[in-house]
């Protein structure tokens, strides 16, 4: 008889645990996640990349290394 004190709440906990395992699909969150991934997969295709380098590197300055030591 004493065991009932433990067994009953235990049964309750087990049952409620079973209910939480069976949670349903979070559609709104999934949509947001999908959008994020789609953004990343398709990014950079809306407009053809105009890859003009802003401020092309200045032409190399002639380097004089004529320091001769005799």
């Amino acid at each position: 008889m004493k065991k009932n004190w433990v067994a009953l709440p235990l049964a309750g906990v087990v049952l409620s645990a079973c209910v939480t395992v069976n949670i349903y699909f979070p559609a709104a969150a999934a949509e947001k996640a999908a959008d994020k991934i789609i953004d990343e997969v398709w990014q950079g295709t809306k407009s053809p990349d105009t890859t003009t380098k802003p401020g092309a590197p200045a032409p190399a300055v002639p380097v004089n290394q004529k320091e001769k030591s005799i």
Binding site: K3, V6, V14, S16, A17, F25, A30, I37
Partner: protein, 138 residues
């Protein structure tokens, strides 16, 4: 009796873990998802041309398919078929990986359906998408 109490405590811990994981959030920041995203992004630069000319379209089940092979020069058809097959393999893996990363492999179908809707909704004008079994141009 002692063992029973221990068992009870263990169940309580399990229960609270379940409650924590029931938070409505979809985890997509895993190495597997990142790798698939990167692979699909790299492939997209080659596929975009075929979406644009109607050779390839987005299907209603979250995949892509060759819609009009005649839009592709004979020499490039093999390449398009390869791209489509590789893309579909990645997509399938992506849906499964997201479901797995969230501890619910059984969500794969739901995730695939969600993606199918979003891919189609966000497709660029001029691309072909499959709606209700037939192809439509966006």
């Amino acid at each position: 009796m002692n063992a029973l109490i221990k068992f009870c405590v263990a169940w309580l811990v399990l229960f609270s873990v379940n409650v924590a994981s029931a938070q409505v959030n979809i985890e997509i920041n895993t190495p597997g998802v990142s790798a698939l995203k990167q692979s699909m992004h790299d492939r997209h630069s080659q596929l975009a041309e075929f979406y644009g000319n109607g050779a390839v379209g987005l299907t209603s089940d979250g995949m892509i398919a060759v819609r009009d092979a005649s839009a592709v020069p004979l020499a490039a058809r093999q390449k398009v078929n390869g791209l489509v097959a590789a893309e579909n393999q990645d997509r399938k893996a992506l849906y499964a990986e997201i479901a797995r990363a969230n501890g619910h492999p059984e969500w794969e179908g739901d995730i695939r359906n969600t993606f199918a809707q979003r891919w189609i909704q966000r497709a660029q004008a001029g691309w072909w998408v499959q709606i209700g079994g037939s192809w439509k141009k966006k």
